[in-house]
Amino acid sequence: MEDIEDITKHKLLIVEGTDEQNFFKVFLRHLSLDDIQVMNMRGKSKIRAKLRALTLAPNFSDVTSLGIIRDADDDPSGAFQSVCDAIRGAGLVAPRRQLSFTRGNPKTGIMVLPQPGSKGMLEDVCLNSINDTQEMDCIIKYLDCIKKHTGTLPSNISKSKLYSFLATKEPGLRLGEAALRSVWRWDNPAFEQIKRFLKLL
């Protein structure tokens, strides 16, 4: 039997998975936004039914603010539209654009990562935050060396760079675990847009 997640706060931030949940919990703690509960949708699929299940859950009637963060992947506008459709399907008012909240009850807001209009994911935001590090210089040289000797590179170069960076801290480290180990420098401008969204919640 899976862990049961009960609504315990008036503000909810909905994310895609456990790793994202850990990441944003630490981020919110850093911002001293303790009145926001991060809930895990366990994947992108069936988001319409999952949001509907959330609105039927005990204590949802006490929720005043609902923020949803998801990855754009290859289709930034499709990702935004699918979340809007899911919000409407759950009987709530959807925002017209990203990074702003409706006036409904609960108010709703959406942010598609890495930033509105761009393809990519949370990993890209994190990667932007470490681009200027010494480790990243070494990783770029390492990947250049691989390409020179094998003629190939991984299909998702951003992810390869990021997880190579995290492996310098601990092999197998994931984004959320890295947040728990204070790897991310929250004051880096790469996190600024997310920070503004979370403060609007």
């Binding site: 997640e5 949708m41 366990r42 069936k46 999952k50 299940a53 959330l54 859950a57 005990p58």
Partner: protein, 360 residues
Amino acid sequence: MLHSFTIENFRCFQDFVIKPLERINLIAGKNNVGKTALIEGMFLFAGATNPQLAMSINVFRGIEAFELKPELLTETPWNSLFLNFDENKMIRLTGIDVNGKSKRERRLHMKIERKESELVMKRVPDREKEGFIVSELKGKTLELTYTDESKKVIKTKLIIDGNRIRVDTSPVPVPYNAIFIAARTRINAAEDAQRYSNIEIVGQQDVLLDILKLIEPKLKRLTIVVSAGVPMIFGDIGLDRLLPLPIMGDGMARVCSLVLAIANVQNGIVFIDEIENGIHHSIMEKIWTGIAEAARRFNTQVVATTHSRECIASAYSAFNRSERYDFLFHRLERGNGTIEAKTYDKETLEAAIETGFEVR
């Protein structure tokens, strides 16, 4: 089959509707939110022309005796049926069933009838200096008015008469045959044997056997054995003797009891309070499969309550695998002084279970 049900001023419900209902319905919610009260209201409605059910539902809750005290005018055996014990408000129970394109609405109204002329005034000389007047309960009546789908009205009454309760009714059929299996009721072997005999008379006993085989594949046949003067269902699992069903496990006896109830109210409704009682979660899915098969076979509707997430997940799983998803899960929630039913369709319940969102 009930498609929707509305309650006004009954137990904890001021104004409540549950809609839609399916063949099998499972109700959850926090303690004291009204799960048992809801199925009690539906049970009263199902047997709307039988006023004694107004007493029976208190017995199901363990209130088996009531002292009639003439000096306590406010206390009646049925005041707990009324919202906030306020007998001035009328209880209204309305059920709609849908058969193809036609809708049939039936109503049961319950009120206290207080005609001044029926009250007996009596002087009690020793209580106060000048004595005082009390009204005896004689004549205080619970009046039940049932209106059927053709608007025909049938009135029945429970009348307090001295220290006893008189039933004023005429033999008319109830809207729905119904059985209420209370949370605290132990399995009654003799009653189950009687119900088994009822289905054997019409040659339907193999339906029960097939369903019990889901739990005990070695089961070959069932029969009634009278032991110490009490009839009991025994089963043959290939040993050199028959075994009483409860010896094969609580799950066997429980599912047998549930299926027999379903089979005995063909075209009616079975209400089961705390369906998970006495059943290990590992066989819950099989039990739901059995209940579904029996309910479809006998065209019986089932409304059950539960506190168990495992029971809810098992029901989802059983119906998801089944030939038809004729199941709905409803969660009762109290908020702003009212109680609401939140109904989960298949996709929503699946999503709630997958994500781990609370559903109880």
